[in-house]
């Protein structure tokens, strides 16, 4: 199995996705914004379809840019709703998510009617194709993952401070707004990159599950980050191996189900000391 080049590409691709998603996911988790990954993943549909309509082909970077723009815009709109009205994050997220996804579906039907050829694959493309990752995809994932990790490393201290206590961060003069913008961009980047491999719904899993699982057993942010990374690697390794053995099973969902099982194990072995102060 380990000599099989295809297996290695799929594993490398999903591991890269999992690493960048979990790295960003920890900060998103700490800000109680885990579901914004879900909002972004649904909202990038219209942008990706527009990117496709403009170029007439499934160019990775054009789709990436299109998805990034609408996903980011959706996130801004969500925050705007919360800011100017009394509505809370949950309502804002549901409204924005459904609106953008609706628009995306409409554009998708437009794209399907256009004369040029390979559009039929577009919806399959958006539902994930992890088992079909090629060395080209993996190369691009590597570039993007390196970028995301570098940005996180560069701003890690500030990100941690803002995530734990944004009032304090503001008081000591950190540019909270700009740091949040950075986090949103990183999250959007990770989501747009992953959505083509595991699909609209399951990319949220790569953001949420590692952070959630590591929170159960960790006592410090440093531990949480490294455990999250380990969990995400285990998920992608388990998922690719199982789907290699049972080729009928799609890789993306298996990765997520492996993550769910890990979560159960971690729940049973969770640090009980954390709960004592409840």
């Amino acid at each position: 199995m380990f000599q099989e080049p295809n297996f290695l590409w799929v594993f490398a691709g999903s591991a890269l996705l999992a690493i960048s998603a979990s790295r960003v996911g920890v900060f998103v988790f700490l800000q109680n914004k885990s579901l914004s990954g879900d909002v972004i993943s649904h909202s990038l549909l219209p942008g990706m379809v527009i990117g496709y309509l403009l170029s007439g082909e499934k160019n990775f970077w054009l789709l990436f840019m299109g998805g990034f723009i609408t996903g980011y815009f959706a996130q801004i709109l969500t925050e705007k709703i919360i800011k100017i009205s009394f509505l809370k994050a949950d309502v804002a997220m549901a409204v924005v998510l459904t609106m953008f996804y609706g628009l995306g579906v409409v554009l998708l039907t437009v794209a399907e009617k256009l004369p040029y050829g390979n559009q039929a694959g577009l919806s399959a493309f958006l539902l994930g194709k992890a088992a079909a990752l090629t060395n080209l995809d993996v190369g691009m994932y590597a570039v993007l993952t390196a970028l995301i990790l570098a940005f996180v490393k560069w701003s890690e201290k500030a990100l941690i401070t803002v995530s734990f206590d944004s009032t304090y961060a503001k008081a000591i003069g950190l540019p909270v707004g700009r740091i949040n913008t950075l986090l949103t961009s990183l999250l959007t980047g990770a989501v747009v990159m992953g959505v083509q491999a595991v699909g609209v719904v399951l990319i949220s899993a790569l953001i949420i599950l590692p952070a959630l699982g590591s929170r159960l057993i960790s006592a410090s942010i440093r531990q949480m980050t490294s455990y999250a990374m380990a969990i995400s690697l285990l998920m992608s390794a388990g998922g690719t191996v199982i789907s290699y053995i049972y080729p009928k099973m799609p890789t993306g969902p298996i990765i997520v189900v492996v993550g769910g099982m890990l979560l159960i194990v971690l729940y049973l072995f969770r640090k009980k000391t954390n709960e004592k102060y409840e």
Binding site: F29, N32, K33, S34, L35, D38, H42, I84, S85, L87, K88, A89, D90, V91, M93, A94, V95, L97, T98, M99, F100, Y101, G102, L103, G104, V105, V106, L108, T109, K113, S123, L127, G199, V200, V201, L202, A205, I207, I208, L209, A211, L212, R215, L216, Y246, K248, M249, P250, G252, P253, I254, V256, V257, G260, L263, Y267, N274, E275, Y277, E278
Partner: protein, 285 residues
């Protein structure tokens, strides 16, 4: 435009804006998203056990998964350090993935796919007929959505008072001997039943939009519950009909257009709200 599609959409939007109100008011809108995605494995499991997809099978699957999902989310939320967003998201993605796995593996014959669950296609409503004996009484979707209107009305009339109590102030409810957890559970079961009966008609995303958006828009401008309900019913019906007409004219996805129209309506109300707020502040000065 097909009259059966029109009635299905209108009935569903009306039923949903009666049903979703407590979810929005108690700030748990994303539960709708979570429940709608998590119901998939339940439906597929019932299909695997009984060998067919039936009305009551789906209901039982929905009941079971709805309860399980809400218990799991509550359990996770209860742990110190775990936020509600992560708990909701963590549970529903695993359930959804399980559902997809079941569909692509053991339950291959079930006529459901990820596409259909997510997008739905209301244009297919007239194809699925309901016949009694040899007599064709109409599209099944129309009857299901009409049933959902009645179900939602019944729920509202029977449990509306206590649900209002629980969703506005659960602490107060608890102090008066009403256990909010039990009522929330009953409500989640009700929403699960709603979703399981309707998601194949329009897709889970439009269901979420029906359940949340018109209510959120009317909440911005209405001061009491009665006005909120009337306005959201009106908005739901209005944006659904405009969505239907627009989709018909442009020949694009009906579900998508309606979801988008609902969002646009919300933002119209939001800008009205923010203008009104600014004006009232200016008046104060």
């Amino acid at each position: 435009m097909d009259i059966e599609i029109f009635f299905t959409a209108i009935f569903l939007s009306v039923a949903a804006s009666i049903s979703g109100i407590y979810m929005v008011l108690s700030q748990k809108s994303m539960y709708g998203d979570a429940l709608s995605h998590s119901l998939l494995p339940g439906i597929v499991l019932v299909f695997l056990i009984t060998g067919e997809r039936s009305f009551f099978g789906s209901l039982i699957g929905a009941l079971f998964t709805g309860v399980l999902v809400s218990v799991l989310i509550r359990r996770l939320e209860g742990i110190k350090g775990i936020y509600s967003d992560a708990a909701i998201g963590g549970v529903f993605v695993v359930f959804f993935a399980l559902g997809i796995l079941l569909i692509s593996g053991p339950a291959e014959g079930v006529d459901l796919d990820q596409d259909c669950v997510l997008f739905g296609e209301i244009a297919f409503v007239p194809i699925d007929r309901w016949t009694i004996g040899d007599y064709d009484v109409g599209a099944r979707g129309v009857w299901i959505s009409l049933f959902l209107v009645l179900l939602a009305l019944t729920f509202h009339l029977v449990m509306g008072r206590v649900m209002k109590f629980v969703s506005f102030n659960s602490e107060f409810a608890r102090s008066r001997g009403v256990n909010p957890e039990i009522w929330n559970m009953i409500y989640h079961i009700f929403i699960s039943i709603f979703i399981v009966l309707s998601f194949e008609l329009v897709g889970v995303i439009l269901i979420l939009s029906f359940l949340v958006t018109p209510i959120a828009a009317s909440w911005l401008v209405s001061g009491n519950m009665k006005r909120l309900i009337f306005l959201s019913l009106t908005l739901a019906a209005a944006s659904t009909s405009t969505g239907l007409v627009a989709a018909d004219a442009l020949d694009v996805s009906i579900s998508g257009t309606i979801a988008f129209m609902q969002g646009v309506t919300f933002f119209v109300f939001l800008s009205y709200y923010s203008l009104a707020k600014k004006r009232s502040i200016r008046r104060l000065h």
